[in-house]
C-alpha cells in the first residue's frame, strides 16, 4: 500500500463519513455551474456591458464566496469527526507534512469527484434554469449549448477552492497536540466568561444600525430628531457603517449578550432550579458559546436571503405602479424650436395610433429653457399648459398671481421637503428682472421622470414677459387608455422616427420603460430567489452539520441522565428547547435585521413593502418549522435507541 493508495482507500471505504461533505460540495458546484451556464449563454454574453451581464456576474461572484465558506465549514465539521484517526496516525509516526498531504490528497479526490458530479447534474439542471431564464427575459428560447466556458470556469474556481481549503486545514485541526487529537473534542468544559461591556456594546451597535436604517422615515416628527436625521444623512458611506454596525452587533449578541441573558436566568434561582430548567440553561451556555460563530453566520446568511427575496419580490410587484408614476403619459414627444418637421412628426404619431385603433388624448405644452449667467438652468411652463396636464392627471388646478411660482419635481422620488430644487423659496428669472415667490410644489411628475429639470410653473402673463430664452420646446403628451398594448405601435414608430435627433426632437414611451423595468426586475427576482434559496439552504446545512457533530457527545450525556432517573419525556423537552433555540434565535434576529434592511429599500421604492416582508418571513418560518420538526424527530429517535427507559 503506497501513500496515495492509502488516501484512496480512506475515501473509498469511508463513504458514510465522507458523504455529507461530498454532497455539500456537489451541491455548491452544481449551483455555481448552473449559474455559469446562464452567464456564458451566447445570448446573454452577447449583450456585453449590459445590466443583465453585470447582475449575473455579481451574483456568480457572490455564489463563489458562499461556496468557499460553505465547503470550508463542511470540511471543518468533517475533519473534527476524524481527529482521533489523525492522532493515531501521528503517533505511528506520520509527520505534519504527511498529514497535510493525506488531507490534500483526500480533498482532491473528493473535490475532483464532486466537480465531475456537480457539473454532470448541473448540465441537466441548467437546462431547466435556462428555460426559466428565457421565459423571464422574454426571449423566445435560450437554446441549450455546450457550455465549455462554464465548465472551464467551474473547474478552475473549484480546484482553486479545494486547494485553498487544503492549505487552510492545518488551522482547523490542531496537529501540535497528539493527546488532544486522540481525546477528540472531549475536553472538559471550561468556565464561560462574558463581558458586560461587550454585551451592552452588542445592543448599542444593533440599535445604532437599526436607527440609521429607519432614520429617513423619522424626519419631520420633531426638530431635535430632524437634526439627528440630517446628521446621519451627512455621514459618508452610511450604508457601510450601518451594515458593519449590525454585523458586529450580531456577533457580539451571540458571543456575549446571549451568555449574559443565560447567566441572568441562572441567577434567578427559583426559575433555574425548577425541574429540567437547570439542564437546558447550563448546557445552552456552552452550546451557544461553542456555536457563536456558526449562529452568527447563519443569522447573517438568513438576513441576506430574506432581504434579497423581500427586495426582489417588492420590486417586481411595484413595477407597474412605478412605470405609471415615472411616465404619467403613455407617450411624450418633444421638439426643439429648430426642428422644422415638428408638425409632420406629430402627425405621423397621431395617424399611427389611429390606424391601430388606439383612442388618445393629446396635450401640447410649451416649455422655455433659461440658463442664467451663473449657469443655473430653469425650465418654465405657463400656468394654462400646466393646468391642461394637471386636469388630465387628476391634479388640482392652480391659479397663480403674477409674482408667484409653483415648482414641479423632475423625479418621482424627489422629496418636496428635502430636495434642493424643491425647497427654493424664491425664483428669479431674466437675470433678476423677474422675481417670483414659490407658493407650492406639484405633487407629481407631469412629463416623465428626468425631463425638464428645475421646472417652474408661472402665470401666463409673466410667461409672456420672459425675455431671455435659450430654447423653446414643444412637448406633446399622449394619454392612451390601452397603453399596455402599445409595444407594436411603438416599435413601428421607432422604425420611422428612431430615438430622435440631437437638437431636433426626442420621444419616449411608457411601454418601453415598463418592458425594460419589467425584464430587469424579473431578472432581479430570479437572481434574488436563487441567492436567497441557496443562502438559506446553506445556513440550514451549517446548523445540521453542527448538530450532526454534537450528536455523539450529547448522546453520552443523555444516557447518563436517563440512568439517574430523568424521564424520556423530560429528555425530549430539554433536547427540544435546545434545538429550537439554535434554530429560531437566528431566524428571529435575521427577521428583525431584514425588517430594518428593507426600511433602507423603502426609501428607494415608492410603495410600502411591509406586506411582502411579512409574506417572506412567514414562508421562511414555515420552512424553518418543517426543518426543525424533522431534525428534532430524527434526533429524539436517535436518543431513544440509547437512553434507559
Amino acid at each position: 500500500m503506497t501513500f496515495t493508495k492509502f488516501a484512496l482507500n480512506n475515501v473509498k471505504r469511508n463513504g458514510r463519513v465522507y458523504l455529507a461533505y461530498f454532497l455539500s460540495s456537489v451541491f455548491t458546484i452544481m449551483v455555481f455551474f448552473s449559474f455559469a451556464v446562464n452567464l456564458f449563454h451566447p445570448v446573454i454574453a452577447g449583450k456585453s456591458g449590459g445590466a443583465i451581464e453585470l447582475i449575473m456576474g455579481q451574483t456568480e461572484a457572490a455564489i463563489l464566496v458562499f461556496s468557499f465558506l460553505f465547503i470550508l465549514i463542511s470540511v471543518g465539521a468533517f475533519l473534527k469527526v476524524r481527529s482521533k484517526e489523525f492522532g493515531i496516525l501521528m503517533i505511528l509516526g506520520m509527520s505534519k507534512k504527511q498529514l497535510r498531504r493525506l488531507i490534500f490528497l483526500e480533498n482532491m479526490i473528493i473535490g475532483c469527484l464532486a466537480i465531475a458530479t456537480g457539473i454532470t447534474i448541473g448540465l441537466v439542471f441548467s437546462k431547466f434554469l435556462l428555460m426559466l431564464l428565457s421565459s423571464i427575459l422574454a426571449y423566445d428560447s435560450l437554446s441549450f449549448y455546450l457550455p465549455y466556458q462554464a465548465i472551464l470556469l467551474t473547474i478552475v474556481f473549484f480546484v482553486l477552492i479545494f486547494l485553498g481549503i487544503s492549505a487552510l486545514t492545518p488551522l482547523i485541526i490542531r496537529t501540535n497536540s497528539i493527546i488532544y487529537l486522540l481525546k477528540g473534542a472531549k475536553k472538559p468544559n471550561r468556565e464561560i466568561k462574558f463581558s458586560i461591556i461587550q454585551s451592552v456594546l452588542a445592543l448599542f451597535l444593533l440599535g445604532t444600525g437599526y436607527f440609521m436604517a429607519i432614520s429617513p422615515h423619522l424626519y419631520d416628527i420633531n426638530p431635535f430628531l430632524n437634526r439627528i436625521v440630517l446628521f446621519i444623512e451627512k455621514i459618508p458611506y452610511v450604508e457601510v457603517i450601518l451594515t458593519t454596525s449590525v454585523v458586529v452587533g450580531t456577533y457580539l449578541f451571540f458571543s456575549q449578550f446571549s451568555i449574559l441573558v443565560l447567566n441572568w436566568l441562572k441567577k434567578n434561582r427559583s426559575f433555574y432550579m425548577y425541574k429540567s430548567n437547570i439542564l437546558w440553561i447550563s448546557d445552552l451556555i456552552y452550546r451557544i458559546k461553542d456555536n457563536a460563530r456558526m449562529l452568527f453566520l447563519v443569522t447573517i446568511l438568513s438576513a441576506v436571503a430574506f432581504t434579497a427575496i423581500t427586495g426582489v419580490y417588492a420590486l417586481s410587484s411595484v413595477v407597474r405602479d412605478e412605470s405609471l408614476k415615472d411616465n404619467p403619459f403613455a407617450l411624450t414627444y418633444t421638439s426643439y424650436s429648430s426642428n422644422d418637421q415638428e408638425l409632420e412628426q406629430v402627425k405621423i404619431i397621431d395617424e399611427m395610433l389611429e390606424n391601430h385603433g388606439f383612442k388618445y388624448e393629446k396635450y401640447k405644452s410649451e416649455v422655455i429653457k433659461q440658463v442664467s449667467k451663473d449657469n443655473y438652468t430653469v425650465h418654465i411652463i405657463k400656468q394654462s399648459d400646466y393646468n391642461k396636464r394637471a386636469s388630465a392627471l387628476g391634479l388640482d388646478l392652480v391659479a397663480l398671481d403674477k409674482d408667484q411660482a409653483l415648482l414641479v419635481p423632475v423625479y418621482v422620488r424627489f422629496d418636496p421637503k428635502r430636495d434642493k430644487t424643491l425647497i427654493q423659496k424664491n425664483i428669479s428669472l431674466d437675470e433678476g428682472q423677474i422675481n417670483l415667490e414659490v407658493v407650492g410644489v406639484a405633487p407629481k411628475v407631469i412629463f416623465y421622470s428626468g425631463l425638464f429639470r428645475n421646472l417652474v410653473v408661472v402665470n401666463d402673463e409673466t410667461y409672456n414677459e420672459i425675455k431671455y430664452i435659450d430654447e423653446r420646446y414643444h412637448s406633446y403628451s399622449y394619454d392612451i387608455y390601452d397603453w399596455l398594448n402599445t409595444l407594436e405601435v411603438t416599435e413601428k414608430l421607432r422604425e420611422i422616427l428612431g430615438v430622435g435627433e440631437h437638437g431636433k426632437y426626442f420621444w419616449s414611451t411608457r411601454i418601453e420603460g415598463y418592458m425594460l423595468e419589467n425584464q430587469n426586475k424579473k431578472l432581479f427576482l430570479y437572481v434574488g430567489f436563487f441567492l436567497g434559496a441557496i443562502f438559506f439552504l446553506g445556513a440550514s446545512s451549517f446548523l445540521y452539520f453542527r448538530l450532526y457533530t454534537d450528536l455523539n457527545q450529547e448522546k453520552d450525556k443523555y444516557i447518563g441522565l436517563s440512568k439517574i432517573g430523568l424521564s424520556f419525556k423530560e429528555i425530549k423537552k430539554v433536547a427540544s428547547i435546545q434545538i429550537s433555540v439554535l434554530f429560531f434565535i437566528p431566524y428571529i434576529l435575521a427577521s428583525i435585521h431584514t425588517y430594518f434592511a428593507i426600511q433602507v429599500l423603502q426609501t428607494v421604492l415608492y410603495s410600502s413593502v411591509l406586506s411582502q416582508f411579512l409574506v417572506v418571513v412567514v414562508v421562511f418560518l414555515i420552512l424553518n418549522l418543517i426543518y426543525y420538526i424533522s431534525v428534532r424527530t430524527r434526533y429524539i429517535n436517535y436518543l431513544k435507541r440509547f437512553v434507559v427507559m
Binding site: M1, T2, F3, I88, I91, L92, G93, M94, S95, K97
Partner: protein
C-alpha cells in the same frame, strides 16, 4: 548492557491556576531486551508516564533519553521520523484505522516511511505468520474479534522492528483467554526479537509476564520488584505490593 530508556528526574505538572503534579521526580533505566511493567492505582500517573516516554506529552522538567537521544529536542518532522522508526505502540482500544484492512493497518508504518511495496509484502508475511493472523489480513477491522484486533495492533507495532515497544493496558479490553494469548505473544516477541518493551497495566496477571515491575503512587516511585523463575510466585509478589499500595490497583 546497552541502556535503551533512561528517565532523569521527570516532573509533570498540569493546570495553570490550580496546579497538580502528575509525576514527581521519576527516574528509570531500562536496558536492551528488558520487559518492564508499570503499575499503580487510578490517578497514580502511570499513563502520563507512558505518554511522556511515548514522546507525545512533554515533561515539565527532567530528561527522557531513548537510545541516548532526547526526543523532545527534535523538531516536529524529526520527531515524526523518530516515532515511525524507533517506537511501536499498542493501545487498550487497539486504535486501528477503520478504513483499512487488517493487512493495510499492519503495514501502515512502512507506508508512512515510503518503503517499497515488495518490502512491505515480505515483512507483512513474516509478522502475520508470527502472530498467526495470516487468514484475516484481507478482512476489515469490524470483522475481527478483540483478540485478533489486538494481535493486529501488535503486528503493526513491531513490523518495523522498533527499538522500544510501548503498550498501554493492552489487555484492558480483552477477555481472560485473549489476554493470556496477547501476553504470551508479548513475552515471546520480547524473547525472540529482543525488543525492549514497556507496558502499563493494572492487571497483575498481565504484569506477571514482565521481567520487572515498577510501582508508582501519586506520581512518585513506590517500589520495584524483579521476577525470579516462577510466574506464579511473581504474580503473588505483585499482589502483595498492590495490597501494600492500598487497595485495588486500578
Amino acid at each position: 548492557m546497552l541502556e535503551i530508556l533512561k528517565l532523569n528526574h521527570i516532573y509533570k505538572i498540569y493546570g495553570d491556576k490550580v496546579q497538580h503534579s502528575a509525576l514527581k521526580d521519576i527516574n528509570l533505566s531500562i536496558e536492551k531486551g528488558e520487559f518492564v511493567g508499570i503499575m499503580g492505582p487510578s490517578g497514580s500517573g502511570k499513563t502520563t508516564l507512558l505518554n511522556v516516554i511515548s514522546t507525545i506529552d512533554a515533561p515539565t522538567s527532567g530528561e527522557v533519553l531513548i537510545n541516548g537521544e532526547n526526543p523532545y529536542k527534535l523538531d516536529s518532522s524529526e520527531l515524526a521520523l523518530f516515532r515511525r522508526r524507533k517506537l511501536g505502540f499498542v493501545f487498550q482500544d487497539f486504535n486501528l484505522i477503520d478504513t483499512l484492512t487488517i493487512g493495510e493497518n499492519i503495514i501502515l508504518p512502512l507506508t508512512l516511511d515510503g518503503q517499497r511495496v515488495s518490502t512491505m509484502d515480505k515483512k507483512l508475511k513474516e509478522v502475520a505468520a508470527r502472530l498467526n493472523i495470516e487468514n484475516i489480513i484481507s478482512k476489515r477491522t469490524y470483522e475481527v474479534s478483540g483478540g485478533q484486533a489486538q494481535r493486529t495492533a501488535i503486528a503493526r507495532a513491531i513490523i518495523h522492528s522498533p527499538l522500544l515497544l510501548l503498550a498501554d493496558e493492552p489487555t484492558g479490553n480483552l477477555d481472560s483467554k485473549a489476554a493470556k494469548d496477547v501476553m504470551e505473544l508479548f513475552e515471546s516477541i520480547n524473547r525472540d526479537t529482543g525488543v525492549t518493551t514497556v507496558m502499563v497495566t493494572h492487571d497483575p496477571k498481565s504484569a506477571s509476564y514482565c521481567h520487572r515491575v515498577m510501582f508508582i503512587k501519586d506520581g512518585q516511585f513506590f517500589n520495584e520488584i524483579h521476577r525470579g523463575d516462577s510466574h506464579q510466585k511473581f504474580y503473588h509478589e505483585i499482589l502483595d505490593v498492590l495490597s501494600l499500595l492500598g487497595g485495588e490497583a486500578r
